[in-house]
């Protein structure tokens, strides 16, 4: 796996701070807090969240703890192209374990929101977005044949089988940044 893509061997904190102050409208930490990670600043970098995060365990670079640190020192550009937040499985183990009640999961999701806001979406997210647009589910189950075999309707009784609801959802999606990006509609 490519290690810390976009981050030079020596981090120039002055440059990071200058970029944050002069080129961004808001501090990265402020944005992440606004996007839902209210307790971001309380992180003391203990690493408990990383110790149990499945992403960290399979080798994603910007797992919870590290992402938080990068945000705290004001990095953004380096993080936007990364796919890690999209890989977060929302298991919330980190939320349970964090001694400072930071809820690193919220940071992950706030980061997703920031990415969409900044029109920087990882390829990893596109499959999910497509599935959401088509079926109303970001993670769509594949077992249609199996459902049929046991006598269940092919589609579950969710948005997937409710044409009206699906249209409404698509309308919403068309009004998001995803549409601006050209990712929606996906026909």
């Amino acid at each position: 796996m490519e290690v810390m893509e976009g981050v030079p061997p020596v981090i120039n904190l002055t440059e990071v701070a200058r970029t944050e102050k002069e080129e961004f409208e808001k501090k990265v930490s402020e944005l992440i807090i606004e996007f839902g990670a209210e307790n971001l600043l309380a992180c003391m970098q203990c690493g408990a969240c990383a110790s149990i995060c499945p992403l960290a365990r399979v080798g994603f670079e910007w797992y919870n703890k590290k992402l938080i640190k990068a945000i705290l020192i004001g990095m953004k550009e380096e993080l936007l192209d990364d796919s890690t937040p999209w890989a977060c499985v929302a298991c919330n183990r980190c939320t349970e374990i964090c001694p400072r009640q930071v809820s690193p999961f919220e940071v992950m999701f706030a980061m997703r929101r920031l990415m969409v806001e900044e029109l920087a979406i990882s390829t990893l997210a596109i499959e999910g977005d497509r599935s959401l647009y088509e079926h109303g589910h970001a993670v769509y189950m594949t077992g249609r044949e199996a459902r049929k075999k046991v006598g269940l309707p092919e589609k579950p009784p969710t948005t997937d089988s409710d044409e009206k609801a699906l249209q409404e959802l698509r309308t919403i999606l068309k009004n998001t940044k995803l549409a601006e990006l050209g990712l929606i509609p996906m026909e």
């Binding site: 810390m4 981050v7 061997p9 020596v10 981090i11 120039n12 904190l13 002055t14 701070a17 501090k27 930490s29 600043l41 309380a42 992180c43 003391m44 970098q45 703890k65 590290k66 640190k69 990068a70 705290l72 020192i73 400072r100």
Partner: protein, 700 residues
């Protein structure tokens, strides 16, 4: 009681399983019964317990025994207990002897039960052999002088003095500097509550100075200490102030008169500004009196104290500017002054040493450059405090001269623009000289917290400041301390795990900082306007010398050593001398005050009875046998022996109050003229012979 009438009771303790697990108690008891002069042998599960002691007392009361041997654990902890039991039952408590069959026997030979049993027999036999030769001794009492000397007038010294003075003891406070207050007087605000240091310290300084039971002796140092607990004789050298303190009102007129040429770095501002040769230590000084630094004084008028003044053409004497400025004549040079100052003699019963610390100079750390914008944390305190060189205005230290120029102009009523640079970025570096084998291996304990404090104060006052902090790790173990740390994090102060390895001076007086971020696993770099070094808390340079005068110890790191880390934390190996505050080791104000109060109460409980019991287990010279060789005088580690006239000859004599009963002299005396009571030559030899004969006591 004649020697013939010796009835020894031997009491063998099982110590639960501790002794009985390795030593065959029955076998040992049978053996003891056959030792000479043994009248009674008993064993019990816990001899030191109430019922155990009662067994011994009962035998004494019934007249069954008149010497007691307890075979049990260590005399270090248990001898006093059994001695008291003997005394309670009416037996002279020095008719008691102990055999350690636990620490030195059952524990040491736990897996060799037979050998352990054999050894226990021999140890008991040796104790019995000694017990046959014991002599009754009487406790002695020494009168205690109820005055106390407190050395050092920092926060620790002040509290120790106040507590004792309030309890009615007379206190002499000896302080090296012209004013009391110590390092705390230099601080801006104090963690963990951020109250202003001066606001909480100054009233205490005034209180101690005005207390009817306290006599302040400032600008003075301890020259020598003689005597011992209860009766110390101290010589204190009051340095020459060159200013008549009776007349000096502390108005400060002289200070401004002192010319620029005579200015030297101001110690109180940690060298960030200059002071004159005549100076008042700081505006809130107590006592607020001026002194002349003779090394800095350039002898303006061309004359020194006591010399004839030069005169103008019309015959008027030419005075030094300070002399001229002083409205009370306090610094008049008409009279000569002794450069050695004055020697003051004090008699005190106890001494508390609270001489504090100094911080390491940044000069030793070449890796952080010699830029004036790299400062120690104590300099940072001066830079942010309202009484500091810039009156609390935050500018880069390299521009302080500009500030001082500007201020002078403004004071003279001129219009002027201050062109000093304000810092935008400040970097803190932890553990400079601490936790570093090249300097000090210990952690200085307060720097993590004061760095967080300074960062917090700065960030709260100047939110636009960028603050970077580099720690090996953040140590916040006190009450409310970690919460304090979290406050800093929540302010958006950037905290890094990893130490700064180098600082480079840039041409524009800014600094290139090279650090490491362990969280991202990468080296980091930044440009900073000020770099603050948390330099280590160190023992004062003269602490070793003072300790030597007092006869107390310093540890490997150079701080004063307590008698026992856990149980006697403010006592020293010399009875009657206590320690408190940073002189004992780095610590914060709450801990310094707690120790000060502990030291005060220890001194008070020692002196309050007015007299003190001392054990009679000390040495005595038989002048008839002493040949006056004087070997013992040099050997005695407590300086207890001196040579005196006895029937026209030089003989050695031991001072009862100083002798600690170590026995060095008795062992060395070639004429066997010295007896260590409780361990006489005959007693010790009888023990050795018995062991050598594997438990058989020889009749002598």
């Amino acid at each position: 009681m004649s020697d013939k009438d010796i009835r020894i009771g031997v009491y063998i303790c099982h110590c639960g399983e501790n002794i009985a697990g390795a030593v065959n108690i029955n076998e040992v008891a049978e053996f003891a019964k056959n030792l000479p002069d043994v009248a009674v042998v008993r064993d019990y599960l816990f001899m030191c317990s109430d019922p155990g002691q009662e067994i011994i007392k009962e035998d004494i009361r019934k007249g069954l025994v008149n010497r007691v041997v307890v075979a049990a654990c260590t005399p270090r902890t248990h001898e006093p207990i059994f001695r008291r039991a003997c005394e309670d039952a009416g037996l002279n408590k020095y008719y008691f002897e102990m055999a350690n069959i636990r620490d030195q026997c059952s524990w040491a030979h736990w897996h060799e039960k037979e050998k352990a049993t054999e050894k226990a027999k021999q140890l008991i036999a040796a104790a019995v052999a000694k017990a046959r030769l014991l002599e009754p001794l009487e406790d002695r009492y020494v009168e205690l002088n109820k005055n106390v000397m407190v050395v050092g007038g920092g926060i620790a010294g002040i509290f120790a003095a106040l507590d004792l003075a309030n309890a009615g003891f007379k206190v002499y406070m000896v302080e090296k500097n012209p004013s009391i207050g110590g390092n705390m007087a230099k601080l801006d605000k104090t963690f963990p509550t951020n109250d202003c240091s001066a606001c909480i310290l100054t009233p205490l300084m005034v209180e101690v100075a005005n207390h009817p039971n306290v006599e302040l002796i400032t600008y003075a140092e301890v020259e020598s200490v003689d005597g011992s607990v209860g009766n110390f004789k101290v010589k204190v050298r009051k340095k020459q102030t060159y200013v008549d303190w009776e007349k000096c009102t502390g108005c400060g007129a002289c200070i401004n008169a002192c010319p620029p040429k005579a200015r030297v770095p101001d110690e109180f501002n940690e060298g960030l500004s200059l002071r004159g040769a005549i100076y008042i230590q700081f505006p809130q000084a107590v006592p607020k009196k001026a002194v002349i630094d003779p090394d800095a004084c350039i002898r303006c008028s061309g004359r020194w104290f006591g010399e004839e003044p030069r005169r103008t053409k019309d015959g008027k004497p030419i005075l030094a500017p300070c002399e001229k400025a002083c409205p009370t004549g306090a610094c008049s040079r008409d009279e000569p002054r002794d450069p050695n100052g004055e020697l003051i003699e004090l008699n005190v019963g106890s001494i508390i040493v609270a001489t504090g610390y100094k911080v390491m100079d940044k000069k030793q750390f070449k890796e952080f450059s010699d830029s004036p914008n790299v400062i120690t944390a104590l300099q940072m305190e001066r830079l942010i405090t309202a009484t500091g060189p810039t009156e609390g205005k935050l500018i880069v230290p390299s521009d302080i001269p500009k500030y001082l120029e500007w201020k002078k102009k403004v004071e003279k009523g001129k219009e002027a623009e201050l062109e000093a640079r304000k810092p935008k970025v400040i970097t803190f570096v932890s553990c400079v000289g601490s936790r570093d084998n090249r300097y000090h291996t210990y952690c200085s304990r307060v720097c993590c917290m004061y760095m967080l404090k300074q960062a917090m104060l700065l960030k709260e006052k100047y939110p636009e400041l960028d603050i970077y902090m580099f720690f090996i790790d953040v140590r916040t173990p006190g009450k409310d301390f970690d919460e304090y740390y979290m406050r800093c994090r929540n302010l958006g102060i950037k905290i890094f795990k990893g130490k700064v390895g180098g600082v480079q001076k840039l041409p524009d007086e800014r600094l290139l900082v090279k650090g490491y971020d362990a969280d991202l696993g990468k080296p980091v770099e930044l440009i900073s306007d000020i770099v603050v070094l948390a330099t280590a808390i160190e023992p004062n340079t003269d602490l070793k010398d003072l300790a030597r005068k007092l006869g107390i110890n310093v540890g490997a790191e150079g701080f004063l050593r307590e008698r026992h880390t856990k149980l006697y934390p403010v006592d020293t190996m010399t009875e009657g001398i206590f320690i408190a505050g940073c002189a004992q080791g780095p610590k914060d104000i709450p801990d310094s005050v707690a120790q000060a109060k502990a030291a005060a109460s220890s001194a008070a409980s020692l002196l309050a009875p007015g007299k003190m019991k001392v054990e009679p287990l000390i040495s005595e010279v038989n002048p008839e046998k002493c040949t006056g060789c004087g070997i013992c005088v040099e050997l005695c580690p407590y300086g207890a022996i001196e040579m005196v006239e006895y029937n026209g000859k030089r003989k050695s004599k031991i001072n009862e109050t100083l002798c600690k009963g170590c026995g060095v002299c008795a062992a060395a005396c070639p004429s066997k003229a010295i007896t260590l009571h409780g361990f006489t030559y005959e007693q010790v030899v009888a023990q050795i012979r018995t062991i050598a004969k594997k438990g058989v006591i020889e009749e002598v």
